[in-house]
């Protein structure tokens, strides 16, 4: 085969590589540049409680969940898992924090009542916390280790198995 004939299949190689790269990645997923970096500090006006600042939780593993009452059915499916994980691991020092985004107070309270939320939750006026965490949808969950670094970010509904694995990782401190 002459080199001219080999040129045609050779020219296809970069196109195939480009297509493979494109198909391998999820076009809707936005990779977070915050992973393994210090979690941005925030002040959350917790319902029926004192303001909470992330900086004051250093040394404790934190699960930060962004949700909304209008996020149906995803947030409704995930809510019982959050509450049960919190009840299971709070004695081991786990901090679970919920941030309700672009929501009305009455709806947030109704959602919390419906799922018997006992962990701290608060609104995010102006979506400041959400933008600071690069949130682009709900639900999104950040697992913050004892050093205050974002160990893992999950977009969408958490499964019990994934929740367990990621919780164990931040509780162990690795």
């Amino acid at each position: 085969m002459s080199w001219k004939k080999a040129l045609i299949p050779l020219a296809c190689v970069p196109v195939i590589i480009l297509l493979a790269y494109g198909f391998r990645s999820d076009p809707r997923a936005i990779p977070s540049p915050l992973l393994q970096k210090a979690a941005p500090n925030f002040r959350l006006a917790v319902f029926d409680g004192e303001d909470m600042m992330l900086d004051s939780l250093k040394g404790k593993p934190v699960v930060l969940n962004f949700w909304a009452s209008w996020c149906y059915p995803a947030c409704y499916e995930e809510a019982p898992l959050l509450e049960s994980a919190w009840r299971k691991y709070k004695e081991q020092g786990l901090i679970m924090v919920g941030v309700a985004i672009q929501d009305k107070e009455a709806n947030i309270r109704e959602f919390m009542r419906r799922f018997n939320f006992t962990f701290p939750n608060g609104p995010d006026p102006g979506s400041k916390i959400s933008i600071d965490y690069g949130v682009y949808g709900v639900p999104e969950t950040f697992f913050i280790d004892r050093q205050g670094r974002i160990a893992y970010k999950h977009v969408g509904v958490l499964t019990p198995a994934l929740m367990e694995v990621k919780l164990q990782a931040i509780l162990r401190g690795n």
Partner: protein, 179 residues
């Protein structure tokens, strides 16, 4: 919150007008103050067009993360609105375009930029069209050259003996035609 609120004592600060002329003067004074107060209020609440232009300029370079191919400036979504407000706040704090872009990039990565940064893998996006154009132009040039060469090769080769014979016969025919 809920501290004491002290109301101004108008009756003590403004002496009562004893004569009619004094009342008229006071009334005129108050009437004159109305447009001034309105002007001051509008200046305090209006947004500078320069600031809005700057916010729009910066927001138009940021991608709306919940839309399809829309900038933060053009998107009607709630998140884009909040992002515009944040851009406005940062501009008011004296932050520049690069600083604001860097902030959003540090939160959402390169995805947030509508125009990809000219580095790394993204360079392909910038260079590939020009490379493709160059390769295409070379291809067209080579193909055109080959076609012209073939055309020249395909020209019929005439035997000089026959050619001479045709010329001679043509001359003879022309000669006989005149006579």
């Amino acid at each position: 919150m809920g501290g004491r609120v002290t109301q101004p004592r108008m009756d003590r600060d403004i002496p009562p007008a004893r004569h009619g002329r004094g009342r008229v003067a006071l009334l005129i004074g108050l009437l004159l103050m109305i447009p001034l107060a309105a002007l001051a209020a509008s200046a305090a609440t209006s947004v500078s067009p320069d600031l809005e232009d700057r916010v729009r300029e910066i927001a138009s370079e940021l991608r709306c993360v919940v839309c399809q191919n829309l900038s933060v400036a053009d998107s009607p979504s709630e998140l884009a609105k909040e992002m515009r407000n944040l851009v406005r706040e940062l501009v008011q704090q004296g932050k520049g375009r690069e600083e604001i872009q860097a902030y959003f990039q540090s939160r959402y990565g390169d995805f947030i930029l509508l125009e990809p940064a000219k580095r790394g893998f993204n360079l392909l996006v910038w260079c590939l069209p020009f490379v493709a154009l160059l390769v295409g132009a070379c291809g067209v040039y080579l193909a055109a050259r080959r076609w012209t060469e073939r055309r020249e090769e395909a020209k019929p080769v005439v035997d000089p003996v026959y050619a001479e014979r045709v010329r001679r016969e043509l001359r003879e025919r022309e000669g006989s035609g005149r006579s």
